[in-house]
């Protein structure tokens, strides 16, 4: 079975290391925060200028001046820091964020990512995505493995305009967890009940399949 959005978030959360600074993009990446294991302390960076993003506010805590990069009302944890956008992207561009999780339309075997623009459709802008992919050493891309029409999004070469070149190393799809290196996708894990053949069929870029491909371990 393909992973649900929640399961994808859960699997990504397993990759988060204790004491790390993490930027979570909009969509599935945002859900990751709900699955960070007990005993793991993580500092969430929100690129509008907040390090130490906390939970959503209770109704009586809502403050128009306290939002995250998704423009949602949030709170700050004890030990948070707030700063301007230049400082925020100094952190990001300067490689100080340990892990970035973001969505994509396409990735390819050379680690290119396309996530912001579909020619012919309305262009909304890249926001901070180009800075995030250029700055983070460690990025996990979350996306569905293929379109609803069965077209692979893991390609030999991205067809859409890029968000960043050669910057993605790990991809978590609804079907598989993969590493990108040496010009290929390397299959690390498969979603429970998903066959290597299904993954192979839906991966357009070169796919390296090891002898044994374990199933992901997910709670519940």
């Amino acid at each position: 079975m393909a992973l649900t959005r929640e399961q994808m978030a859960q699997r990504v959360a397993q990759e988060i290391q204790d004491g790390s600074y993490v930027n979570l993009g909009i969509g599935i990446p945002t859900l990751v925060a709900n699955y960070i294991p007990d005993g793991i302390e993580v500092m969430l960076q929100s690129e509008n200028g907040l390090l130490g993003m906390g939970r959503y506010p209770y109704e009586d805590e809502v403050d128009a001046d306290m939002i995250n990069a998704g423009k949602e009302t949030v709170t700050a944890i004890d030990g948070a820091a707030i700063f301007d956008s230049a400082e925020s992207f100094a952190m990001i561009r300067g490689g100080h964020v340990d892990l970035t999780v973001l969505g994509a339309f396409e990735v390819d075997v050379n680690g290119n990512i396309a996530s912001w623009m579909i020619p012919g459709k309305l262009i909304k802008g890249m926001g901070g995505a180009m800075d995030l992919v250029a700055g983070a050493e460690n990025i996990i891309c979350t996306m569905t493995h293929a379109s609803k029409h069965g077209e692979s999004k893991l390609l030999s070469q991205c067809e859409l305009p890029l968000t960043g070149a050669g910057c993605i190393r790990r991809v978590l799809t609804d079907l598989a967890f993969l590493e990108i290196k040496d010009g290929a996708f390397h299959l690390l894990e498969r979603a429970p009940g998903v066959s290597v053949e299904d993954i192979s069929r839906l991966t357009a870029g070169k796919l390296i399949i090891p002898d044994h491909v374990p199933e992901m371990q997910l709670d519940a």
Partner: protein, 233 residues
């Protein structure tokens, strides 16, 4: 009154000198920390052919969105503009020129404009449409593109508190692009929720030193919330 009283008492005075064709840099992220009333004053002034530099362009009927209604903006430099139907319409019709700029590059361009740095190299946007036509250079084996600074004829800024010297503090994440905008305007106008006496702000906690600020005005703010996300007890 001595020369350091930067407080003005009318929005007309606050935006005096704004003319057709000028460049206006605005603080704010989404609808958070936007200079609501200074924007309204620009609408009232009915100046046109503006180049507006801001991370976003407000929403229909609020924030910078109101400047679209009478087609006052000729060129918009922003990182994300997806919240605004009128914007889409004018962009698609070609009435509005849009220069999309990565958020971090936009912030750095404003800072550079204020800091006397005419251009800088960044990895952001290399290999993407944003890098096309820009100089590429390798440092330590990695390619970077050259980006130029942005300066404005006016910078419009929303802050929390200011004193008459123009020393400013921002509240929570309403800081965002405001301190950067403040440095990059030939004339920088700050609207605040509270005026304080010199000495009330701890010098170590001033976010924007008064040297960057030309005019201060006390305002009232709606502070509209874009996405009210709450948890229940």
């Amino acid at each position: 009154m001595a020369g350091f009283n930067k407080v003005v008492t009318s929005y007309a005075d606050a935006m005096a000198g704004l003319k057709d064709g000028m460049t206006v840099i605005a603080g704010g992220f989404g609808l958070c920390g936007i200079p609501e009333n200074l924007i309204q004053e620009i609408k009232r002034l009915a100046v046109t052919d503006l180049t507006v530099v801001s991370n976003n362009c407000g929403v229909d009927g609020f924030g910078l969105g109101v400047l679209l209604e009478d087609r006052q903006i000729k060129t918009m430099i922003a990182s994300y503009v997806g919240e605004n139907a009128l914007f889409e319409q004018q962009m698609l019709s070609g009435e509005l020129e849009v220069i999309l700029t990565p958020q971090g590059t936009l912030a750095e361009k404003m800072r550079a404009g204020g800091a006397g740095i005419p251009a800088f190299f960044t990895a952001t946007g290399y290999g993407t449409p944003i890098g096309e036509g820009k100089e590429v250079r390798e440092f330590d084996g990695r390619p970077y593109i050259l980006e130029e600074a942005i300066k404005g004829d006016f910078a419009i800024v929303k802050a929390w508190k200011a004193d008459r010297y123009g020393n400013v503090v921002y509240r929570h994440t309403a800081r965002n692009f405001n301190p950067l905008a403040a440095t990059a305007g030939k004339i920088t106008v700050v609207e605040v929720e509270e005026l304080v006496e010199p000495g009330e702000l701890d010098p170590a906690d001033v976010h924007t030193p008064g040297i960057y600020v030309d005019r201060v005005i006390l305002g009232k703010f709606e502070k509209r919330i874009e996405k009210r996300t709450v948890r229940t007890r």
